[in-house]
Symmetry: none
């Protein structure tokens, strides 16, 4: 596949992502994609055979490079407390994002496609986040910025709470204040205070 082909593939994925954000996963048809890309029906099939294949490509792209968000924050900031706040703030932004939010589509995709354990990028990211949070908390405790008996348990709890907020935002609605309260609560359990 030539360079031009790669470019076109990227182009299709980009347009398709918009469609998935707008319409979810299941409701999206190849026709929708074709129209969004303004290419020919047959043309699309040269690159992707169905919406599943296309969505998986979009999903992989989505998660590429995203793994290390927390790690980067650790490198860039002085104290574990600051890193934690940066991380939670990033989560908040994603939870509340209105436009370009592909969350619902991802959930829909996962409902009918439980990828083999190691092929599930969502699961992979979840676990990486848990691991990173755990290290962060362990560091925080060691440096006496935080108080926590079991860093692993706390990390997992934070991750599940964030998941709960994310899905709630897509279903029953969540206000910015509600997210803030959760962040404060989490900080509180770690013996920290948000200014």
């Amino acid at each position: 596949m030539g360079d031009k082909s790669v470019q076109k593939k990227k182009y299709i994925m980009e347009k398709a992502r918009n469609v998935f954000c707008r319409n979810g996963y299941r409701a999206v048809t190849m026709k929708d994609i074709v129209e969004a890309c303004d290419i020919s029906r047959g043309g699309l099939y040269l690159y992707f055979s169905n919406t599943k294949e296309l969505f998986e490509a979009v999903l992989a792209e989505e998660y590429a490079g995203e793994e290390a968000v927390l790690e980067k924050a650790r490198a860039a900031h002085a104290t574990p407390g600051e890193v934690m706040l940066v991380y939670l703030d990033e989560q908040k932004k994603r939870i509340l994002r209105k436009k370009d939010n592909i969350t619902a589509a991802i959930y829909e995709y996962l409902f009918e496609n439980k990828p083999a354990k190691n092929d599930n990028p969502v699961k992979k990211l979840f676990q990486e986040n848990v691991t990173a949070l755990e290290k962060l908390i362990a560091d925080g405790v060691e440096q006496e910025w935080m108080v926590c008996e079991d860093a692993a348990e706390a990390a997992r709890n934070i991750a599940y709470t964030m998941e709960g907020l994310k899905i709630s935002a897509q279903t029953i609605g969540v206000t910015a204040e509600a997210v803030d309260r959760e962040i404060e609560y989490i900080m509180g359990t770690l013996g920290m205070v948000v200014k």
Copy 2:
């Protein structure tokens, strides 16, 4: 609509519920329902005009009578700690249930239909649970079974954690052990211990 009609409506809803549990919300067609019910195409339309209407009926039924689970537990059990455990155990069962689990379908439905605030039974139940948990924790603190600075915040956090586990079970998978660990962690933050 006579008594027999009501019976038939219930029958259709029951069969339809199975289909929704198996196939989610969006993928279900009127034909699927017709086949599951073993009735005629036109027959179904006498009762429900489309899958949305049918799903909403199933959803309402699903949540009818379910509101007071926690309240009942409070009435039936001696100590707040016991009630809390009963509640969390019930949640665990639902999170891990393999068959007859309509959770994914509900989420899918909510993704494309954000019901008006007060018409959203899922939201209503969420809020009732938060309220009941808050009372429970307040009682527990008063009776010196629990330790908690802010019952409302703790209640909300428990609710979001449960939501996180529920959606994770439908997407990235959750083991019984993982749920248990979360329950233990929650109990721990309330100063309690699971035997």
Copy 3:
């Protein structure tokens, strides 16, 4: 069939007539009739087996007693000129009637059902009108109210002109002025003047 049955049949025909006036012939379904009559589906079938049968009953009723309009006018009025004017005025009313106008439905019915010559009430009425007009003109000429070489030809022409106005009213639209002009023209060819 008892008296009550006859009453009900009339009731159905009356309601059905409204439906035919509103929706034409072909577009009308048994369901439409059932709803307009507020009776049961099965109930309607006790009286009429399909819309054709029902429409034919309505049509027969429509034309019953109507045959002699012109004859009656002849009996009631002094001069042939007056009778002619009364007749043309009655035609004008029918041509321009907005509500309760079953004309289009009748045409539609006749398009797909060419009844055997003698069963066609529309044809029968047309011919009766021609005959009556002919007599009227003959009288008018004899009494020197009118001028006409061939009463039969003039009568037929008037009848076709009225048909032309009737169908035009249902298709391309006809104003009251247009009808008046035609009436004046006809009177003119008969050597008469409309005041």
Copy 4:
């Protein structure tokens, strides 16, 4: 849409016209057209979205180029009397045509679709015919071939008479003799004689 597409559109319209001639307007389904054209269900929808759209295309085609019939006759013939006869003869042919007669379908279409004044090709043609007839009669009078006090009124009356014959042919039946008699009568009112 390329040249081939235009060809196919024409092809569909031609086949559809046959169907409309046979079955009228309302009774025709997309399925009927598909079968008459021997193309696929979906294929038809590439060109026309429903029977109304298709019929309107057929109707437009039907009336395209037809407007000037009378004008052409004026150019090609010597005397107004001859032109008038040619026109009335053409009308006669149309009135009596058995096969390929789309008249009833057009009426049916107009019954339920009263197009905006200027979009109604039937009305447009009617008015053009009236205008052309008027000019013709005025010429005839000037050249002393005809006798007529008011050319406009006479023209309108001829047009409505033709309409009357056309609808009668589709409903109560009209013989060739009946049409001839009307033509003779019209010629007579204009002071002319048919040989």
